[in-house]
């Protein structure tokens, strides 16, 4: 029994690793196999997995997780500026820093539940965002965003070459494909951890809290530390995602902390399926993929796509489709999200389950 399910976990992880690492191959037909986009898949996948540990397991809906993303990015860039261009310290510092902030914010916010919790997290995130834009300019460089410069000390690097150096992992440059593989490796580790958390007694307690928090107290559990830890862990995931953004592109801006960014990770998690292991990843992948594809579309490409249609029809179709591409991509995203929330609250994963059931039923009757 014990070995069997451990085996199942490992199969899942290995399968997952294989899928992630072969992304450059199977994304080719989709036209999405370039490093920038694949890095984004991995980074936002990580962000969404982490968010899901809080929202999916405990049901506490945070509207301020982007704050930790921003903190991760800023910390990583500072590590590049002050210490070294090696990404390892940057990533470690970012996670620790995000963890500390998540503890502080979580400790306070988790004194309330339901919408009050959502509003508290939103308030904290907006405060961080506003401060990053104004008073904290010495740390965040305000509107311009924090960037590397030639004058940075970088006390651990003795490299004195031309121009601004590139982030590296012990000499391997972290741009392009190596950067993707680094993000992918971290995503795989993050996924592995989330599987273990979900299947652990701790994870079961989190789900029990979601199901009936009062009962947990009368069962002898102090629910606060459970929730605070879930919040901290998911904040650390966000910090890691923020650090990876800085690793692949070493700058950090306050807009990463804005509530719209927090909203995005909520969308990803819900779209894929909150509370499931793979769902948030699928959500993140879909949103980033379509964002990339659709926002690049313009009238001309649309005309090419629908070129086979009769002229008048083509004009109409292009006009309508034009609403949803390019700048209008967000409209499509909003609609998609609305449809999922209304008809498929369990997200795409629930859709799969329903389809599976349908097939099994029709198979049986046939």
């Amino acid at each position: 029994m014990k070995n069997e399910s451990a085996l199942k976990d490992w199969t899942l992880i290995i399968l997952f690793a294989a899928v992630v690492l072969t992304m450059p191959i199977w994304l080719k037909p989709l036209g999405a196999n370039y490093p920038d986009l694949m890095q984004k898949f991995a980074i936002f996948g990580l962000f969404a997995i982490g968010f899901n540990i809080l929202f999916g397991l405990t049901g506490y809906l945070s509207f301020g997780h982007a704050a930790f993303l921003g903190i991760g990015s800023y910390t990583a860039v500072w590590s590049f500026k002050l210490l070294t261009m090696n990404v390892l310290p940057a990533v470690i510092f970012a996670v620790v820093m995000a963890g500390i902030f998540a503890f502080l914010i979580g400790f306070v916010s988790l004194r309330r539940s339901g919408i009050y919790f959502s509003i508290l997290t939103l308030a904290f995130a907006e405060m961080s965002f506003n401060m990053a834009y104004s008073v904290l300019t010495p740390i965040t460089n305000g509107e311009t965003g924090l960037q590397l410069s030639l004058k940075d000390p970088r006390i651990l690097d003795n490299f004195q070459g031309e121009g601004i150096p590139i982030t590296n992992l012990f000499g391997v440059k972290m741009s392009g494909m190596p950067g993707f593989y680094f993000c992918a490796a971290i995503l795989i580790i993050g996924f592995f951890l989330s599987v273990r958390i979900t299947r652990s007694p701790f994870g079961m307690m989190l789900r029990a809290i979601k199901s009936n928090q009062t009962r947990m107290a009368y069962t002898g559990f102090n629910t606060r530390p459970y929730l605070v830890w879930a919040f901290v862990i998911s904040g650390m995931y966000a910090g890691m995602a923020g650090a990876l953004m800085a690793v692949t592109d070493p700058l950090a801006g306050a807009e990463r902390m804005q509530w719209t960014a927090s909203g995005e990770v909520v969308l990803m998690t819900i779209l894929g399926g909150a509370g499931t292991l793979i769902g948030p990843l699928i959500g993140a992948g879909i949103i980033k993929y379509f964002e990339n594809i659709f926002s690049a579309f313009n009238e001309q490409t649309l005309n090419e796509v629908f070129g086979a249609l009769p002229d008048t029809l083509q004009n109409i179709v292009v006009k309508i489709a034009g609403l949803f591409v390019g700048e209008g991509w967000h409209l499509l995203l909003g609609l998609m999200f609305l449809i999922v929330i209304i008809f498929l609250p369990g997200g795409i994963m629930e859709g799969f389950r329903r389809l599976g059931k349908l097939f099994r039923l029709s198979g049986r009757s046939a």
């Binding site: 009050y116 509003i119 929330i341």
Partner: protein, 338 residues
């Protein structure tokens, strides 16, 4: 003393906008039990009815500009001016207040459709789902507006006659330097009138009495055989109108853009929380208080002691209130106090 009065005045118009949005937000929460993240979008839609009306009124004909003689120049003259002359010009000038006439039926319709078509189906779903669906709706609405009007703010002028500033200092025997834009005074008066109207409506009509009873105890009221659901739909419509009017009148103060709704919404939540979820007087009081507080926090003297305080003061207040007194200033005990 001058500075204090001036800061109060500066804060009060923003506070009035907060109060109006929060009023609808808390009305909807108190009656329907729904936390409406799309309420800010209603504020934004209201603002854009003013924009739309002005665009319609200024539909123009291209005519040759005769005053330019050495090349062919064209200028655009609104049809309204062509057909109605000076009267037409006057109508364009009054576009913002005139749009109230369109905004009331339009916002009512939007509100009813929203409640009937979408929000109604979420009464029984968890709060998180309600937040998410209204959040999604807000995204869609603001993207639609962005599609039609672009991302840049579109300035709206107040009618010429009130374009200047009132010399409040002279009225109350203070320094002449104390001036205050006329339109902001009008906004304040307008907000007070709307607030008064909503309160009077709820207090003195049978409809309002039923709604208030429903806010206290929904089940009992529906046991009495009163169709409370239909009344709640209308309440939602009223909240939409109030938000829309608040947005529309705000356009001369701050040029509307597609995301103005969300900016105000976040702050209005804070206002509702501070005032007490479901408390109408609380929302109004907290709206004005926070507006004024924010304006004092932006004083240079304050900022030199606590740098950046103006950016976070409202959120800070929200955090403190939620932790120390979760039912807010005037909320009923027990609401959400878990």
């Amino acid at each position: 003393m001058d500075t204090i009065i001036l800061q109060v005045l500066n804060g009060i118009d923003k506070g009035a906008a907060y109060a109006l949005i929060a009023l609808g937000l808390t009305l909807v929460f108190g009656t329907l039990g729904v936390v409406n993240f799309a309420h800010g979008a209603l504020f934004m839609l209201g603002a854009f009815t003013a924009v739309t009306l002005r665009e319609l009124l200024t539909l123009s004909k291209k005519v040759k500009d005769e005053s330019v003689t050495f090349f062919d120049a064209y200028k655009e003259i609104p049809y309204l001016e062509i057909y109605l002359g000076d009267f037409g010009t006057a109508i364009v000038d009054y576009a913002v207040p005139l749009s109230i006439l369109i905004a009331i039926p339009f916002m009512l319709l939007v509100g009813l459709v929203m409640e009937r078509g979408l929000i109604r189906h979420f009464y029984k779903r968890p709060h998180a789902d309600q937040i998410l669906v209204t959040f999604g709706l807000a995204l869609v609405l603001q993207e639609i507006v962005k599609k039609f009007y672009g991302a840049n703010p579109i300035p709206q002028a107040a009618p010429d006659i009130v374009a200047g500033s009132a010399n409040i200092g002279a009225w109350i025997g203070m320094a002449d330097s104390m001036v205050y834009p006329w339109w902001r005074l009008i906004y304040l008066a307008f907000a007070l009138a709307v607030i008064f109207a909503v309160f009077a409506f709820l207090r003195f009509t049978t409809f309002g009495m039923v709604v208030r009873a429903g806010m206290q105890d929904r089940e009992t009221v529906s046991l009495l055989g009163i169709d409370i659901e239909r009344r709640f739909t209308i309440v939602f419509g009223i909240a939409a109108v109030v938000a829309g009017l608040a947005g529309l009148m705000y356009t001369p103060i701050s040029p509307p853009n597609y995301h103005m709704g969300m900016d105000f919404l976040v702050l209005s939540f804070v206002v509702v929380v501070v005032g007490g979820m479901g408390s109408l007087p609380g929302a109004v009081l907290a709206g004005f208080l926070l507006g004024i507080l924010q304006s004092f926090a932006s004083l240079n003297e304050v900022k030199s002691i606590l740098p950046g305080i103006d950016q976070i003061i409202i959120f800070l207040v929200a955090v403190v209130v939620l932790l120390v007194r979760p039912r807010g200033l005037m909320g009923r005990k027990g609401i959400m106090e878990d």
